[in-house]
Symmetry: C2
Subunit: 429 residues, 2 copies
C-alpha cells in the first residue's frame, strides 16, 4: 500500500506553477493570458507537453479544453482541474493553480501505480473568465451542453477560427460529457475569509447564487432650509435607511449571504436641495435558491415600507451586469440572476476527509464567485477546495497565496481525489 | 382714534400686486425680473410712481434700493419692505408681495393721518436674489455697510453702470443706515410648514444659519460574493448608516434644525463590487450658532465612529455652494457657513400681537431661507412675517399663495408696524 500513500512533489508543483506563470507574464508580476490569445494557446501547449512528458495521454477539444489521462481508454472519470486563461492584467494563480495542482495529482497517482489514476481526468477549461465571450465558462458550458453555439456572434466565430479551431466542432464537445463522473476543482479563494480566520483550506459546499437589481427611489426636491424632515419626500433618507438595514435583513435569512450596493447616485443640483431621485444597484447572494428568493423578497418589502415612511415611490428592477470594453476586450456580461449550486454531499465529505488526513485547519464554506465546477456540478456531482488569497486580492498582478498553502491545497486535492473516486465507485478494486 | 384703526384696502393690494406682476411677466405666469435688467428697473419705476401717486416721498440710492416715506424730513424710521427683483423664471410673490404689502401699509397709515406713518420707511432692496452678483442681498448689504465695493469685478461694474448708476455712489449708500431704526419684512414662506399645519401667518423668530460640508468616505473595493459584511470596508454602508441617523442627530440638538444630503455618489465600477469611495454633500441648519456648531460637531463625531465601525476613513470639509451659470446669468455663490440670526424679541412680540389682533392662526417659527431682514437684522432690530406658499413651492412660475392669506398677511403687517414703531419708541406721542 506504500504506492497509494504517495504524496505530491512540492518542488515540482511550485516550479511548474512558476514556469506556467512566465507564459503571458507582465513586467509587474501579473499575467495577460486572455482566452484564445497567443499566450493562452501557448499555456495550453505547455500543459500538453507537461502531461506528455509524464507519459500521460492528452487531448484538446474544439472549445480549446485540454484533457489529460493516465490511460487512453474511454471510460467515466472524475474531472480534476480548472482553467489557465486569465483576465487582462490578472494574477498567476486564478485558475492556473488548480490546473497545475491537478497535473501534480495525476502525475503522482500515475507514477505510484495507484489504480485511482485511471479514474481521473485532468481538465483545463477554455475561456473561464468571459473576457472574450459574454458570460464566461465557455469551455465548461460547451462540455456541459449549456453553450448555445448558434448564438455565437461573428466576432466570437472570428476569434475562435483565428485560434485554429473549426467552429463546427464546438457543438460536438458536449458528447464527451457522458464520460464525466464528477468534478473536483481546487482554486484560490479570491476573498478574505480563510486568511481572516487563520485557515489553510476551505471545503466548498456550494456557490452563492445572485440576484441583481437596479433600485430607483423617487421623492421631491425640497429646499433644505424651509422643509423639515417630517414634510420631506427625501429619497436619500429612504435609500440610506434601507441600505443601512441590509446586513441585518440578509443575516435574518442566512448569515452566509451578502448584499452589495455597487453604485449609488443622487443629485439635487445644489447643496441646499434634496435630490428628487436616487438610484442604486443591489446585488444579493445566498447559498440556496430558497434563501436567495426570501432575501430579495424581504429587501423589496422593506423598500416599500421605507418608501411609505418617507413618502417616496420606488422601482425594483432586475439588472444585468453591464458590458465593459477595456483595451478592446469585452469584460463579462453577467445575467441578473444565477441560482446557487449546492455541491454533492459525498464529494464535499471526500474533501473534508482529505483535510483531516493532511491535518490542515479547514472549514466548510460557500464560494462567493463562480467557477467551472459550478457549471459542471449542475449535471454531475462536484465539489471545490479553496486556499487563502493574500489580502483577499484577485484579478490583479499582486494576487498571491503563501507557498505552504499552495502545497497543502495540492496535498488535500490528492487525497480528496482518492476519496471522491471511491465515493463515486469509479475504481474497480 | 378711528383713523388709527384704519385697515388696508384689500382690492388695492391685490390689484397693485397684479399690476406689478405684468412687469417682466412670462407666458407661463412667472416672472423674469432679474436684478438690474430692464424689467427690474421698470418694476422699481412703477413702485416710485405708486408712491408718488399716493402723495408719498421717494428716493432711489446708488444700489437701486427704492425708499418711500410719508414725510420728507430725515429721521430714524422703521423699514418695512422686501425686494422686487426675481430669479430667472421666478414667481410673482417672492419679494414683490412684501413690497406691495408695505406700500399698502404706508399708504393706509398716511391716508389715515396715523402718526405712525411718519416713523415708517418703505424699502425695495436691489438684487436680493444674487442672480447677478455673488451672494445676493446686494442692496441690503450696501445699506448695512456689508458690501465690499472694492471687490466688485469688472462685469458687476459694467452691469451697474449699464443700469445708469454711478459706481462711485455705491459706497455712500451705507451712510443712510444710521436712519434705519429697525426692519419688518413680510414674505412668502417658500416652504410647506404653514400650509401643512393650517396656519395663516408665521411669526419669524430668526433665520436658520447653515454649515455646509463635503464628506468623503474611503473604504476598499471588495468583491460582493467573496467578502462577508464583517470583513468589508464598505463606504456605502458607512454613509448610509450616518445619513439614516441624521434626523435623530439633528433633533437631539434642536428639532427646528434640518440636515440635507444634496448629492451622493459612489461607484465600484461593477454591480458586484463595493465602491472604494462614496462622497456626499451635507448641509446642516439650526436656529442658533450654539446649536449649529453642536450639530455639526455631533455629526462629525458620529461620522468618525461609523467609519471605525466600518473600517473606513473619512474627510469632512467645508463646502461652498457651487457657482452655476444659467442662460448667461450667474446663480448665487453661497458661502459654506452663515451664522443664524435671532430676531429682536420686541419686534417678534409686535408681530405676535398683530396676529392676535387680526385673529389669524399663527405660530412662531424660524425661516429656512435668507432674506434682506436677516442682513439688516445683524445691525438693528428686525423681525419677519411669513404667509403660506401653496405646495411649498417657490422660485418657479407656479409660486402661489391664497388671496385670503395675502390679505391677512398685509393686515398683520399693518398692525405689527404700529406695534413695532411703539416698541422702538419712534413716535412722538
Amino acid at each position: 500500500m506504500a504506492a497509494v500513500d504517495a504524496d505530491i512533489d512540492r518542488v515540482r508543483l511550485l516550479s511548474d506553477l512558476a514556469e506556467l506563470s512566465t507564459i503571458g507574464a507582465r513586467p509587474d508580476g501579473g499575467l495577460d493570458r486572455v482566452a484564445w490569445s497567443r499566450a493562452d494557446l501557448d499555456g495550453r501547449r505547455w500543459l500538453r507537453e507537461r502531461l506528455e512528458a509524464a507519459g500521460l495521454h492528452t487531448t484538446t477539444d474544439a472549445a480549446l479544453n485540454v484533457f489529460g489521462t493516465a490511460t487512453s481508454s474511454a471510460r467515466r472519470r472524475l474531472l480534476i482541474g480548472s482553467h489557465t486563461d486569465s483576465v487582462r492584467a490578472g494574477g498567476r494563480l486564478d485558475g492556473a493553480y488548480g490546473v497545475v495542482a491537478a497535473l501534480e495529482v495525476l502525475r503522482t497517482l500515475a507514477a505510484a501505480g495507484d489504480p485511482v489514476a485511471g479514474c481521473v481526468e485532468l481538465v483545463d477549461f477554455a475561456d473561464e473568465e468571459g473576457v472574450r465571450f459574454p458570460c464566461g465558462y465557455f469551455g465548461s458550458k460547451a462540455l456541459a451542453g449549456e453553450l448555445d453555439v448558434g448564438s455565437l456572434g461573428p466576432e466570437a466565430i472570428q476569434i475562435i477560427e483565428s485560434a485554429g479551431v473549426d467552429i463546427r466542432g464546438i457543438a460536438a464537445v458536449a458528447n464527451r460529457m457522458s464520460l464525466a463522473a464528477g468534478m473536483l476543482e481546487l482554486h484560490i479563494e479570491q476573498g478574505p475569509r480563510l486568511e481572516a480566520h487563520g485557515l489553510a483550506v476551505g471545503v466548498v459546499e456550494g456557490i452563492l447564487g445572485f440576484d441583481r437589481y437596479r433600485v430607483e427611489i423617487e421623492g421631491r426636491s425640497d429646499h433644505g432650509g424651509t422643509t423639515p424632515f417630517g414634510l420631506r419626500k427625501d429619497p436619500v433618507q429612504a435609500a440610506a435607511t434601507l441600505i443601512a438595514e441590509l446586513p441585518t435583513l440578509v443575516a435574518s435569512i442566512d448569515e452566509a449571504g451578502t448584499a452589495t450596493v455597487g453604485s449609488i447616485a443622487g443629485d439635487g443640483g445644489a447643496i441646499n436641495f434634496v435630490p428628487r431621485k436616487v438610484a442604486f444597484t443591489l446585488e444579493v447572494r445566498q447559498p440556496s435558491e430558497t434563501s436567495l428568493t426570501a432575501t430579495t423578497r424581504l429587501v423589496e418589502s422593506r423598500l416599500k415600507a421605507v418608501c411609505v415612511e418617507h413618502r417616496c415611490s420606488a422601482t425594483f428592477r432586475p439588472e444585468h451586469m453591464n458590458v465593459e470594453i477595456k483595451d478592446g476586450l469585452q469584460v463579462a456580461v453577467e445575467p441578473a440572476f444565477v441560482p446557487p449550486i449546492l455541491f454533492d454531499a459525498r464529494l464535499v465529505e471526500a474533501c473534508d476527509a482529505a483535510c483531516r488526513e493532511v491535518r490542515v485547519k479547514h472549514r466548510r464554506m460557500h464560494a462567493g464567485t463562480w467557477h467551472d465546477a459550478g457549471i459542471i456540478g449542475r449535471h454531475v456531482p462536484a465539489a471545490m477546495l479553496l486556499v487563502p488569497s493574500t489580502n483577499g486580492g484577485t484579478h490583479h498582478p499582486l494576487e498571491d497565496t503563501a507557498e505552504t498553502d499552495l502545497v497543502d491545497g495540492a496535498r488535500v486535492l490528492l487525497r480528496a481525489t482518492r476519496h471522491a473516486v471511491r465515493a463515486l465507485e469509479l475504481t474497480d478494486y
